[in-house]
Amino acid sequence: MSDLLLEIKNVSLGYGEEIVLGGVDLCVRRGELTVVAGPSGCGKSTLLKAAVGLLAPVSGSVRLFGVDLAGISEDRLSGLRSRVGLLFQGGALINSMTVAENVALPLNQFSRLPENVIDTLVRMKLGQVGLEKAYAKTPPELSGGMRKRAALARSLALDPELLICDEPSAGLDPVTAAGLDQLLLDLRSALNMTLLVVTHELGSIDAIADRVVVIDNGGLIFDGPLAQARRSDIPAVRDFFTRQPPRAEDRGKSMLERFLKTTGEVAS
């Protein structure tokens, strides 16, 4: 079987007439932990949606497990998706169902396991994310961080080959976040899971990333190992890793100076 789980080639993405990302190339190899980083609103989540065929690209091709997603049948797509775990940014748990029912959903859909085995599996998955107590609760009764962990349990239900996480540790306290990072690393070493994680938490990136992809300004601006990203002299990548505020646009100052040009004096 091919080593490339996800192959995104020259893909442009957008909603309606607005293009969010253009000309992106991204490959994910088996066993790798890739972090997609970049400023808020740069199109990271959009890229993830395209990776599992929730959003059709404007141009370019997406291959998941070697299969081109363009024009694929619903059945085939559904089969491919069963091998991918997707953790949404807001969790996206089904609010009308309990946490346990949510985690059991993919198990019911894709396995013929008897009910009590599924129940055991659900408890195991909830234990894995430290949410045994939330078994019978509904998502609105949980805190934001708990919802995220419950959603992670659901995306792990089928032991996916590829786990895609959209900001798993955003909004979590440092200890829980570190625990989650450790869990992701454990999943990779124990189950040889491949991970694609969107995050902009520097601590997380340092702890988990093998490889970093940085998106900015509607395109992919860096793709390489973490160490190389850290040393990068691309300004946007360097600013990201050194937590620099956005550069004061020089335009602002010069315009002010242009107004002052007649006398040029600035009182102090």
């Binding site: 998706r81 069963s82 609010n95």
Partner: protein
């Protein structure tokens, strides 16, 4: 006592041009007065005017907005307003807002009339296409789903939906149909009495309820209470990415969300319509009794007036109305994009569109069955 202004404005000629000197705090309190002053005084000629902010001790965002407005005014009137001096405090605020003499405003794109019409048409066609796909998808899964290997909604979902759409609506439909039957009988009895044909009010009520009022009133009430609930539920799930999550887990959102409701509505809509017809006739009977027609005679007359065709068209119509409400509401829900406020919008639209569609289809039915 009037609160003292934080800022003072004065005007003098500095040998080169007229200069406006602003002193003190140019903030939310003083900004309107300063703007009024500048507006009243700014020349309509091509004169050069200096705006001196050298004595401004404090400038806040409202102050910056006023400066931007003043510069805009100046450009509009054709004079040249230049910043002459800027105090350190004012400069800091202006830089924070990247004030460039004008705050960039994306000019609203005014589209032409034809463009608007074309845009609306394209959107309408797109919506109709989506709707057709949804109808096809819904009925495909409704028919194929029970025999498919993969699973749809969890067991018990259809029961839950039936209770939600059916028994919860029972009370309000029964009561309203009773009142409508009552009013209808009162109205017709009043007219028919002039011809001594009181008893025929029973015929009128029975036929009207079975053919028109029953299916229609039930549909309108169901659109209002259940259609809106369906649209709101699905729209919320769309907004919170639950629909995407279902798709990502390999479920067909239509099969998971819409099909159980289709089964439920197929069962409940005709039953609710029967309830409304029966309650309407009972309402008529009660008022007829008050007007001196014995209940037995009324019921006998009413049931005798009903032909099988009246009842079957009524039930067929109710079924189609139920499906229309479901598909319209589900479509509105699934096409919701954006945030929480869109949910409310979708809900309202679903009710308006489904009642509209129900009435139009009712007209078509009348044309088919009565001509």
């Amino acid at each position: 006592m009037e609160q003292p202004l934080h800022a003072t404005v004065e005007r003098f000629f500095d040998g080169e041009r007229t200069r406006v000197l602003v002193r003190g705090r140019l903030d939310r309190e003083s900004a309107p007065a300063v703007l009024d002053w500048i507006r009243a005084w700014l020349p309509k000629t091509r004169a050069r005017v200096g705006l001196d902010l050298g004595e401004v001790q404090y400038l806040d965002s409202a102050g910056v907005a006023v400066l931007a407005e003043s510069l805009r005014l100046a450009r509009q009137r054709g004079c040249r307003l230049e910043l002459v001096r800027v105090s350190e405090a004012a400069r800091r605020t202006m830089e924070m807002f990247r004030f460039r003499g004008e705050l960039e405003q994306a000019a609203p794109v005014r589209e032409g009339f034809l463009e608007g019409v074309g845009d609306g048409l394209v959107r309408w066609v797109e919506g109709a296409r989506e709707m057709l796909f949804l109808i096809a998808d819904t009925f495909y899964w409704a028919l194929v789903g029970p025999f498919a290997r993969s699973r749809g909604a969890p067991a018990g979902e259809m029961t839950r939906q039936t209770i939600l759409l059916g028994s919860r609506a029972f009370g309000v439909i029964a009561l309203l149909a009773f009142l409508i039957g009552l009013t209808l009988t009162l109205l017709s009895a009043h007219q028919l009495r002039q011809f001594g044909a009181n008893i025929f009010a029973a015929n009128l009520v029975a036929v009207a309820m079975a053919r028109e009022m029953g299916p229609m009133m039930t549909a309108i009430i169901v659109a209002g209470r259940s259609g809106s609930a369906i649209a709101a539920e699905i729209a919320t799930m769309k907004v919170t990415e639950e629909v995407d999550a279902l798709a990502a887990m390999g479920f067909s959102p239509v099969r998971f969300l819409v099909v159980p409701k289709l089964y439920a509505v197929t069962l409940t809509q005709p039953l609710l319509t029967i309830v409304s017809v029966v309650c309407g006739i009972l309402g008529g009977m009660v008022i007829a009794a008050a007007l001196g027609v014995p209940p037995q005679a009324f019921l006998h007359q009413a049931t005798g007036a009903l032909a099988l065709k009246d009842v079957s068209t009524g039930l067929l119509k109710s079924l189609v109305f139920g499906w229309i409400i479901l598909v319209v509401s589900a479509h509105r829900g699934l096409s919701t994009r954006g945030g929480a406020e869109e949910v409310g919008f979708s809900t309202t639209r679903s009710v308006v569109v489904s009642i509209f569609a129900v009435i139009i289809v009712d007209c078509i039915f009348s044309l088919i069955f009565y001509t």
